[in-house]
Amino acid sequence: MRKVVLSALAVVGAVSLLAGCASPSTGSGNGASQTSVVDQTLTVFAAASLKGTFTELASEFEKSHPGVTVSLTFAGSADLVSQIIEGAPADVVAFADEKNMAKLTDAKLIRGTPQLFASNTLEIAVPRGNPADITSFQDLTKPDAKVVICAEQVPCGSATTKIEQATGITLSPVSEESAVTDVLGKVSSGEADAGLVYVTDVEAAGDAVEGITFPEAAGAVNKYPVGVTVGAAQPELAAEFATLIAGAEGQKILASAGFAKP
């Protein structure tokens, strides 16, 4: 009997040790929360399409705020939302559409009102050399063209559906991806003849793909909101970061990446 009790205690001990080592935040290293003035960490959750711009803005912020480390987590907007609802600690959140932000405001997890700081529209991406000779949105319905789009459930997919409805042109894609990066990947590798991605994705992909803008894209604009969470450890610091994004400096960096004004 003693052996059973001893071994049960040993197991409980081992589990507590593990729990102590587990870090509560996704981005940074150790989990102990700091309350000292120096060495603060600001946790930012942002949509995947904001990776390049936010990384640049984060290092700007760190330079102007010595002692502060900005920890960035990029993922699909819906993924981030569910993580935050489950209790992941984030100070600043920025998403690729207002629908996702609404989920958090409805759950009363955002301080005040979120700010719109950028907008993004769709662009047709084709592999280098444009093998299927796509020149317009209508061309995407060419019978031999292998077109890849985002699934309706993700922001870029809902934008695609909106354009389909507005133009009356229904696409027959060979695949509906859950992440816009997967769409881009299939285009740049040549597996697909064309894909619908964001303007910023084409910009970021550089020479890997060719971009073809189309006027109908204006019918579906995704507005990007940024907000500070109710659970933010340093709300003032978080608000400063949000201001940086929406301010002149942030807007310049966002514009050069292809984002449009909100």
Binding site: A8, V11, Q153, P173, V174, E191
Partner: protein
């Protein structure tokens, strides 16, 4: 008439502390699955899992998993035999390569499949010119599933073949049975349990396959969007649907396991 012997659970001679640690191990698996069941939106469960997209995904998953399991058996049996019974230079390397999908992240498997069978792939480009296009098709799903599941079957069967040894085959040949006859009448029946185990493992692995399918086959309802891909997608907008479908996947897997393993325990 046989006597009924009352089943009494015993520790079977293992130390008590081993049983405790084993219990922890079991809980590690059981608790998350039970928690999943508690998350399900039970009032709406039937509606969630019978939506057109859910049914399409489930049907596709079952169809493709059965097909890939069959392919695994067809290819895996000869492969296991060669690995277990023959010797040739480079056999160890071959074996390591065949077991590679076990340790590769599935997405890497998908990338490799693209490199081989994609439009610009090693074999794919030739197939394209012949008018055969594999990527984005249900065939691609079966290929991806077979790629990741084959090692399970080969491993299980090879172990059974080694354990059985080749003495019975030697006797059979002295009794006048040709090699094909020996294979059919002695080898296969003897390793059938190992083969069934391997096939079940392969089926389960194929059913749950995600990364390679997503990368290589894409995601389109009814064509390539298997249940795991459907769950991944539903998470974006309808977490309740995702949880419900996840539970369906768990139940299917559990049923398959019980049906196969349960029968053998009784023997």
């Amino acid at each position: 008439m046989s006597e009924r012997v009352r089943q009494r659970s015993t520790l079977g001679g293992i130390p008590a502390w081993v049983a405790v640690v084993a219990a922890v191990g079991a809980l590690l698996i059981v608790i998350p699955i039970v928690s999943l069941a508690t998350r399900v939106d039970w009032p709406n469960f039937a509606v969630l899992v019978t939506s057109p997209s859910s049914l399409a995904a489930l049907a596709l998953s079952l169809r493709t998993s059965v097909a890939s399991t069959a392919l695994c058996v067809l290819l895996g049996v000869p492969l296991a035999l060669v690995l277990a019974r023959t010797s040739f230079p480079g056999k160890r390397i071959l074996r390591a390569l065949i077991l590679l999908p076990l340790v590769l992240p599935p997405v890497v498997g998908g990338i490799a499949l693209l490199a081989a069978f994609g439009r610009r792939g090693l074999l794919g480009s030739s197939l394209e010119t012949m008018g055969v296009s594999i990527a984005f098709s249900t065939v691609a799903v079966v290929l991806a599933q077979t790629f990741v599941a084959l090692p399970f079957l080969v491993l299980s069967l090879e172990a059974a073949l080694r354990a059985a040894g080749s003495r019975y085959e030697a006797v059979a040949s002295t009794l006048g049975a040709s090699p094909s006859s020996v294979f059919r009448r002695v080898t296969l029946p003897l390793v059938l349990p190992g083969l069934v185990t391997g096939a079940v493992l392969a089926f389960a692995r194929a059913l749950g396959e995600f990364g390679a399918t997503l990368t290589f086959a894409g995601s389109l309802e009814g064509v390539t969007r298997t249940l795991p891909l459907e769950i991944y997608l539903q998470r974006e907008t309808d977490p309740d649907a995702a949880v419900a479908l996840a539970l369906v996947l768990v139940v299917v897997a559990v049923v398959v396991m019980i049906v196969t393993y349960g029968r053998r325990e009784i023997r």
